[in-house]
């Protein structure tokens, strides 16, 4: 959380690219690496909101779920390719986030957080109430393995699927980095520090928050589309509150000070899930304890491990 405005592309961009290339070689399975990409992209939307504007969202799973269903229906029923489906899902995510944002950004502080959770819960019950569209608890199946574009590059090979997901993931990270480095990003940063002062400087704080919520919705929906491409299936859990929570936890554990944190958090969480869940089904307890440690002692997440030694910051509460 430096005051100097970050550049793009920078060392972080390179690090993200390097991690995306390295993951399949380091991890035991390509499936795990692909899952991490999906969670990292979804977590990125939380990082954008919390890290750059200071908005805590318990509801990014709503847009994740929307992206998952929209892309699945476009591929299965309209024969669209993966690129168009992912793009359309992101646009749908932006639109829904804009609609919800109209209601959400009118309320401040804790109301904002509660509203994100309430809307996420609403999305879950929507999916449950319209089983003709979403197949309800059974999950939306029979999504064919499509091609990347122009009927070429079928996503039936796991290697190519990973490469395509990595490309989408990298694009999302590049966009977020670009946004943070832009003048728009510095206004967001000033709102995070003090929204009254930003308002006094003449910025329409609500409009900036609205824009951030909209973009974050699009990114979360992209992650949902990636999930559909990976699974060829949309489980009802894609839209439940637990998905929202998982994305948020990944971003927090990695650290919201930098987009890289989302990738680090998703990797740590994915690896923990892979290694611990066969041994101990209740491994989420460890995640919860880790979350407490991060919030109390590591405000910049695992990424900030190196920089917090001997330094204690106390931020003014902003409600």
């Amino acid at each position: 959380m430096t005051n100097a405005s970050p550049r793009f592309p920078n060392g972080t961009t390179v690090a993200i690219g390097a991690i995306l290339v390295a993951l399949p070689w380091v991890l035991p399975s390509l499936t795990l690496a692909s899952e991490i990409l999906v969670v990292a992209t979804g977590a990125l939307s939380c990082t954008l909101l919390l890290g750059s504007v200071g908005l805590l969202s318990f509801g990014q799973g709503l847009y994740f779920g929307l992206g998952a269903y929209v892309s699945a229906i476009l591929i299965r029923d309209f024969g669209m390719n993966a690129s168009v489906a992912a793009l359309a899902a992101s646009v749908a995510g932006c639109l829904l986030a804009a609609a919800a944002g109209l209601l959400i950004v009118r309320r401040q502080g804790v109301y904002f957080v509660m509203l994100t959770l309430a809307f996420a819960q609403m999305g879950f019950f929507l999916a449950l109430a319209f089983p003709k569209l979403t197949a309800g608890e059974n999950g939306l199946g029979n999504v064919p393995r499509t091609t990347i574009a122009f009927g070429k590059f079928a996503l039936s090979s796991p290697g190519l699927l990973y490469a395509f997901l990595a490309l989408l993931c990298f694009a999302a990270f590049a966009i977020v980095q670009r946004i943070i480095a832009s003048p728009f990003g510095s206004v967001l940063n000033s709102i995070r520090h003090n929204d009254n002062r930003s308002e006094a400087l003449g910025y329409d704080v609500r409009r900036f928050k609205f824009a951030a919520v909209t973009i974050a919705g699009g990114i979360a929906a992209l992650a949902g589309a990636m999930n559909t491409l990976m699974l060829s299936f949309v489980p009802l859990s894609a839209v439940d509150v637990e998905t929202s929570e998982r994305l948020l936890i990944a971003s927090l554990i990695g650290g919201v000070g930098s987009p890289l944190g989302a990738l680090v958090g998703a990797t740590v969480l994915g690896a923990m899930s892979d290694f611990l869940s066969p041994v101990w089904p209740r491994w989420s307890m460890i995640v919860a304890l880790l979350l407490i440690v991060v919030v109390l002692f590591l405000r910049d997440g695992l990424l900030g491990l190196g920089s917090v030694m001997g330094r204690h910051r106390k931020e003014a509460p902003n409600g």
Binding site: R106, A288, L291, V295
Partner: protein, 287 residues
Amino acid sequence: MSTQVFIFGALNGVGIGMIYFILSIGLTMIFGLMQFVNFAHGAFYMVSAYAAFAIAQWTGSVLPALLISPLLAAIFALVSERVLLQRTYNLPHEAQILITFALAILAQETVTMIFGTLGKNVPVPEMFNGVVILGGFVYPSYRLFVVAVAVVVAVVMWLAIERTRLGAMLRAAAENAEMVGLLGFDSRKIFMGAFAFGGALAGLAGALAAPLRGVEPLMGREALAIAFVVVILGGLGSFSGALLAALLIGITQSLMSMIWPGGAHLMIYGVMTMILAFRPTGLMGRS
């Protein structure tokens, strides 16, 4: 739909709404008192409902749970406050939300570890197992009992807050905690009391609801979202707002479950969205 069916649906809705009200009082009170957002509030409700399940298993009746479960929930809330939550009073809201959220996960996982992931039924107490004939209609007597208990609790709560010295102190502390501290009241004790009391009420809601809906590990999360809707619409720190909002969504849910069962829960949030679209600051107009 005949008028009588409608009236019974509305009566059911009052019962559900009263449970939602009792559930939400603690959340809104703790926020009003100390500007503290408690994401573990649903966990108090869930833990208490599971305690009711266990008590019903041991003793054969869920009735003792109506006293013991709230007590256990109060102890759980008090211990959480002393061990963990009081360390976060000086941190930003976001930190409090995340710590209490982590606490809720811990509670949920512990309960799952003990009782398993599958939901369980809690038998209705024997003395309320039958039905009551009301105006030629058959009505489950436990539901009537729940409405009665909830109304009594709500009225007692109301009187306690509006008419007693303790209530006056709580209201004053909600307005200006620092000033109440300067008047010589120990704010630490007030905070502990608020947590114990709020936890007990969430616990009572959980124990009352257990025979109606059964118990399952995710019920705390669902209850938290409902309590949020109540305070979003009613306004944090407002008791009359919470009562109005809770009754509104309880009755909505109950009537919708007769018209469109698949969408009954959806409509709770649908009503919230519609109200927010026209009244951005909720029913009582406070922000």
